[in-house]
């Protein structure tokens, strides 16, 4: 399969400091990959290497199966974390300027931009100066400038920062639609809920190395430690006795409704949750029996802590 982005053994050092230590991963066509990592993990250097802003010391970058080239980079839509607009230009005028830098002719650029302006509800601001618009409005325009030339690969660095929930939802929908249309997306963010909502796959960097990677659902499944949530009606003592040696009870919350309790437990044998459910059903009325998979945030913290422990 030809990957939209294929990074192999990428190395970069600034003086004595090694920022990327042989990073390798791939982004499948039409998928959304989350690029995660704590501050200083090497995410920005990695993205800048892909964009040709920073020259890597070693390793290879392939774009759509071909060796990295400046022409290939022009097929990427890039929304950097540190982004802005010219204050002395009109909104529409500079959107056309950025589109033309991406190789679009003026007529096509205006047509595509008008459609995006309408979709993100900024069409009334075409002739206004940037100084006249709000921060959220400017963020939307920056997003439009990134995607207007229909890139085959989209690199978004904290795309939701500065948005209210309604506009964040609009951007998420737009990103999903782009992916559905075949655009591959590399999403760098610290916003874990958006990773869970958007990403098919994730790659976690720490200290310049990949410490975790794979499909988001698979990782969460693999990271499941046997935690279950049970909503039941009945006696706490009976519930505890029923668990016996099958599971460890983490705790029971006070009534969430009249006589209804919520308990968290950890299975001793994760392979047989059915046995626990059967045992409980004989002692109390089980209303819900839910598998609690780890959040991306907890996987992130766990993986980072594990790496730091190894280093120590």
């Amino acid at each position: 399969m030809t990957h939209a982005l294929d990074i192999a053994k990428l190395e970069k050092a600034y003086g004595p400091q090694r920022v990327l230590k042989g990073v390798s991963f791939s982004v499948r066509p039409g998928s959304i990959m989350g690029l995660l990592g704590p501050n200083g993990a090497g995410k920005s250097t990695l993205i800048r290497s892909v964009m040709g802003i920073v020259e890597p010391d070693a390793g290879t970058i392939r774009l759509n199966g071909e060796a990295w080239s400046r022409e290939g980079v022009r097929g990427i839509g890039y929304l950097p974390e540190e982004r802005g607009l010219y204050k002395d230009m009109k909104v529409g005028e500079q959107a056309v300027y950025f589109a033309r830098l991406k190789g679009m002719d003026k007529a096509n650029a205006i047509r595509a931009l008008k459609a995006w302006f309408e979709r993100l509800e900024v069409d009334g601001w075409w002739d206004r100066k940037v100084t006249d618009i709000s921060k959220g409005m400017a963020q939307k325009i920056q997003f439009i400038c990134t995607v207007v030339h229909k890139p085959s690969l989209l690199i978004l660095d904290e795309p939701l920062s500065g948005f209210d929930p309604i506009n964040a939802r609009r951007i998420i929908d737009a990103v999903r639609d782009l992916a559905a249309d075949g655009t591959s997306i590399l999403l760098s963010t610290h916003d874990m809920p958006s990773v869970e909502r958007l990403c098919d796959e994730v790659v976690l960097l720490n200290g310049g190395e990949v410490v975790l990677s794979g499909q988001a659902d698979v990782l969460r499944e693999e990271g499941w430690s046997g935690e279950q949530e049970v909503v039941f009606r009945g006696n706490d003592l009976a519930f505890t006795n029923a668990l016996g040696a099958l599971a460890h009870l983490d705790g029971i919350a006070p009534d969430i409704a009249d006589g209804v309790r919520r308990a968290h437990l950890r299975l001793r044998d994760a392979a047989h949750p059915g046995a626990v459910l059967q045992a409980l059903s004989q002692s109390v009325e089980v209303l819900e029996f839910l598998k609690v998979r780890p959040t991306m945030e907890s996987l992130f913290i766990e993986a980072v802590n594990a790496t730091q422990t190894e280093v120590a």
Binding site: Y14, G15, T45, R48, M51, G52, I53, V54, R70, E71, V73, R74, I76, Y78, L79, P80, E82, R83, G84, L85, Y86, K87, D88, M89, Y97, F98, R100, L101, K102, G103, Q142, C145, T146
Partner: protein
């Protein structure tokens, strides 16, 4: 495609500046102010010399005699007082009181005594100064009349014989070149013209260099830069910025030239038709030339303007502007990329413009001796040649030197553009933290993020 991207950047730089209200007002206003200045000088020089009626108190009777027919004192040497449109003389042995001669319509009184031939001084009495030009004419006329008196009293020569014997040597310049002897001279005036052009170039280079630096700093501070250099190579972006801002400067220079010519032609049209003629307005009629170019030729300042070989000077100025601008513009851009604010940048550009400033200051010295070897060297040194060569071009310099110096400048500018591109590539993404020459040198060597 790369050329297309550079053109897109050039167009943006050009459009955003040229369409600014301040640029339009400045471009439109400047030619009319300059032509207005020239017009002011012309009209002032023509109309600033009002008529004076001069009463000369020739108490010792040195230069006048009593004309029996008219009963008036008249000059012994009538030829010493040529008919001047702005001066009328009357001679007396004893002047009345100040209020009396003023009441009689005289504006100036000249007084001297017997000692005037020894101490060579007298008094010019007035209520309102007659002005430098009128004073000079009065001094000249009276000196000649007294010289006449002295010749007649101290020698056996008559005035005509003395005039024939008197000799004032005038040396006419002739330059020897491969083409033989050609007309020479006028270096100071021509050097002054060259100096004027070099001053304009100095101003344009520093102003527009500063504009590039501001533009680079702005793109760093408003965070547009990372989006830009993801689409365009930093070197191409730098080239686009330098050329775009240079195009703005050229637009302004061309607009100034065209509008100045239009304004001057309009002024000439009105002046020659007599509508604006100060002479006409003052009722001086046929004594005042109605033709503008003749009037300008008679004025020391405006005569210099007529002496300019505009075509050659403008071509040289544009040529050295392009070379100098590429060189200094690139350096200003590199500085802009290496700083976090305009204030920091202003501190760093001082050493950069020092050579240019040095050339500008010593350029005035080159007026007196343009062929001095130090000035020749400076007119070849690329950091100073844009300013210094223009002074030499105006005075007269072999064509091969102008072309050679221009080529050295262009080759250097290309090299500096490459070096600045390296600094720019690293510097534009450097925000916050330390800045300075050490870091800039590191970036040029290719180190640093």
């Amino acid at each position: 495609m790369k050329g297309g991207l550079v053109a897109t950047v050039i167009l943006r730089e050009w459009r955003t500046r040229v369409l600014k209200r301040s640029f339009i007002i400045g471009t439109l206003l400047m030619p009319f102010l300059s032509v207005g200045f020239v017009a002011g000088v012309v009209l002032f020089s023509e109309g600033s010399d009002p008529s004076h009626t001069v009463l000369v108190e020739d108490a010792p009777g040195l230069i006048t005699r009593l004309d029996a027919a008219s009963g008036q004192y008249v000059p012994r040497c009538p030829g010493c007082f040529p008919g001047r449109p702005n001066l009328q003389y009357r001679f007396v042995r004893e002047a009345p009181s100040d209020s009396a001669w003023q009441a009689d319509g005289y504006t100036v009184l000249v007084e001297y005594d017997e000692a005037v031939l020894q101490n060579k001084s007298g008094y010019l009495v007035y209520e309102t100064s007659p002005g430098m030009m009128a004073k000079r004419d009065i001094e000249r006329d009276l000196s000649r009349a007294m010289e006449h008196a002295r010749v007649l009293s101290s020698t056996d020569l008559n005035w005509e014989a003395y005039q024939r014997l008197k000799l004032e040597l005038r040396l006419v310049d002739r330059e020897v070149s491969e083409a033989g002897r050609t007309e020479g001279g006028g270096e100071e005036i021509r050097g002054g013209i060259g100096f004027l052009f070099s001053a304009i170039l100095f101003l344009v280079l520093t102003v527009y260099g500063g504009l590039i630096m501001r533009s680079v700093v702005e793109e760093k501070s408003n965070r547009v830069i990372e989006v830009l250099i993801a689409a365009v190579k930093p070197e191409a972006l730098l080239l686009g910025k330098v050329l775009g801002t240079g195009a703005v400067a050229l637009t302004q220079l061309v607009a100034w030239s065209v509008l100045s010519m239009l304004a001057f032609s309009t002024f000439q049209l009105f002046f020659d038709s007599g509508v604006m003629s100060a002479g006409g307005a003052m009722g001086m009629g046929a004594d005042v030339p109605a033709d503008l170019l003749t009037v300008m030729g008679e004025n020391e300042f405006t005569a210099i303007l007529l002496d300019i070989d505009w075509g050659w000077m403008i071509a040289s100025t544009i040529g050295f502007f392009i070379g100098g601008y590429l060189l200094y513009g690139s350096l200003f851009a590199a500085v802009g990329a290496s700083v976090n604010s305009e204030q920091e940048g202003q501190g760093m550009v001082v050493p950069i413009i020092m050579p240019l400033m040095f050339a500008y200051i010593v350029g005035s010295g080159a007026l007196a001796n343009p062929e001095m070897s130090a000035f020749t060297a400076l007119s070849w040194f690329p950091l100073t040649s844009p300013v210094m060569m223009l002074v030499r071009v105006a005075v007269g310099v072999p064509l091969w030197e102008v072309i050679g110096s221009g080529l050295v400048l262009l080759v250097t500018a290309r090299g500096v553009l490459w070096v600045a591109g390296r600094a720019y590539r690293h510097g534009v993404l450097h925000t916050g933290g330390k800045t300075g020459w050490k870091l800039l040198a590191q970036w040029i060597r290719g180190h640093g993020g």
